[in-house]
Amino acid sequence: MATQHSRSAARLMMAPAVILLLGWMLVPLTMTLIFSFKKYLPLRGGDLGWVGFENYARFVSSSAFWPAVSATLIIVGGVLVITLVFGVLLAILLDQPMWGQGIVRILVIAPFFVMPTVSALVWKNIFMDPVNGLFAHLWKFFGAEPLEWLSQASLQSIILIVSWQWLPFATLILLTAIQSLDSEQLEAAEMDGAPVLKRFWFIVLPHLSRAMTVVLLIQTIFLLGIFAEIFVTTQGAFGTRTLTYLIYQRVLESQNVGLGSAGGVYAIILANIVAIFLMRIVGKNLDA
């Protein structure tokens, strides 16, 4: 009796969160799906009827599609490689005994707390400006011609900005994972004469593999959706138009809602493919 009672009370306590999230997911998703099968131009006639899969076909056959796919892959891939490689190195470094460890940790983590619009604008103007930026001063100091970063090396610049924001996240999680490594195991290997690189390759890296996978998946999901960094720097020009930015432009700038919604459905499918892998890892951990 008591359990019956507490079960229904539990259901009642869960209801607000479940209902809200269900609405948040289903209502807009259904609308996006409906729009994606329509010719829908809010500023030029509004809802012009059903068009089947035309928007889906047009979205992938437009000249902007493949460049957007490649920009997305380069940015996401570049940031992932940089943050994972340097994240592992930094985590190992921060795990060593040193003076002022706490302060160094704070310094390294700080960029994660800077809002995206601030970091993008500071990098764009104070560092990457071709006339007054710090990089321009540095280049001139070494006698080189300053670069117009955001137009001549646009993708690299975006990768640099976004990596700076996400490196702390990767480092922090990998550091947490490294600290759970049994130090006796490492000491035993050291006693047996295993060199540093071998210890890293056969003990540290396997121990970190799960955390690295988690970082990879979570970052991929967030990186697929980066917006502010492009919005305030290049506005999608110079080959930095990612899929997210392309969809945003179709929907809000050119107000072609049908076409943009079809793109949105592609983005949702893409994110779900990544999400499935992440959910598997999280789900396994939930059982343990």
Partner: protein, 276 residues
């Protein structure tokens, strides 16, 4: 002998780690320094590091020109309001999932997580349209609700993992001693749950404060928070580095300080318990 070797190695580690740490922190440090320079000194070549005439003028100009306080207030309301609302909704849900788990609890948790992975741009127009229809475009209440919803899965998850750590034996012991449900919640559970709830609030204020997709797309003049205020500096106007730096420093300072207290919670909150 052995000791001096370790000390040497420790010194090497320290030097290397501090160098890397300062390099990573440098853009923030430089922004803070620039905010105290005059505009001319801010673009001086070669750049001036410390020996400039420190001034607070930029902060005064930014406040005067842009009504900074209003943006700040919008940020405070949106971040604080969405977090508070989210916690009020999430505490009962996480509570019941942690203490009265059923066969479906795991599925519900996983499903909640999956809503977090929905790309925002995929539902941009529907939300935009709903906001217009309800007349809440460019209002704080609209943003409070949206930001609350995007962070709700994280809040539920974090609270769930904290509540899970409260040992069930304590509840049984309280019940044996004749505590009623009400007494159990007030005297036994609440004191044990408060630290977890506080951590959750902290992390979510940070996430909400920095959210920059919905705040940029759903606000204009009235409800714009600091993220949008900073974005308005993206079209340069004459000399503006020092003012940009002052505005940036003011926008990030509160959250940098909060953030430093929340390193541990960050890992728990953003990996959904997958890394411990």
């Amino acid at each position: 002998m052995a000791r001096s070797v370790t000390n040497q190695r420790k010194a090497l580690n320290t030097a290397l780690a501090w160098a890397v740490g300062l390099l990573i922190f440098f853009p923030i440090l430089w922004t803070i320094l620039t905010s105290f320079k005059t505009e001319a000194q801010a673009i001086a070549s070669p750049p001036i590091f410390l020996n400039f005439d420190w001034t607070l003028e930029n902060y005064a100009v930014v406040q005067e020109r842009s009504n900074y306080m209003r943006f700040l207030w919008n940020s405070v309301i949106i971040a604080g309001g969405s977090t508070l609302l989210g916690v009020i909704i999430a505490v009962p849900a996480a509570w019941s999932m942690a203490f009265v788990p059923s066969r479906r609890t795991k599925d519900i948790l996983m499903w909640m997580l999956s809503t977090k992975m929905l790309p925002a741009v995929g539902v941009l127009y529907p939300i935009y349209l709903i906001f217009i229809r309800l007349g809440i475009l460019d209002t704080r209440i609209g943003l409070v609700v949206v930001i609350m919803l995007i962070n709700l899965p994280i809040i539920v998850w974090m609270l769930y993992t904290y509540f899970k750590e409260i040992p069930g034996e304590i509840l049984e012991a309280a019940r044996m001693d004749g505590a009623t449900l009400k007494e159990e919640i007030i005297y036994v559970l609440t004191p044990m749950a408060v630290p977890g709830i506080a951590s959750t609030i902290l992390l979510n204020i940070i996430l909400a404060w920095n959210e920059a997709f919905w705040t940029l797309n759903l606000t204009a003049a009235k409800a714009a928070p600091l993220t949008a205020f900073i974005a308005s500096y993206s079209s340069p106007e004459g000399l503006f580095y020092a003012k940009l730096s002052a505005a940036s420093t003011m926008a990030i300072a509160p959250i940098l300080i909060l953030g430093w207290f929340s390193q541990k919670q960050l890992v728990r909150g953003l990996t959904f318990g997958a890394v411990k």
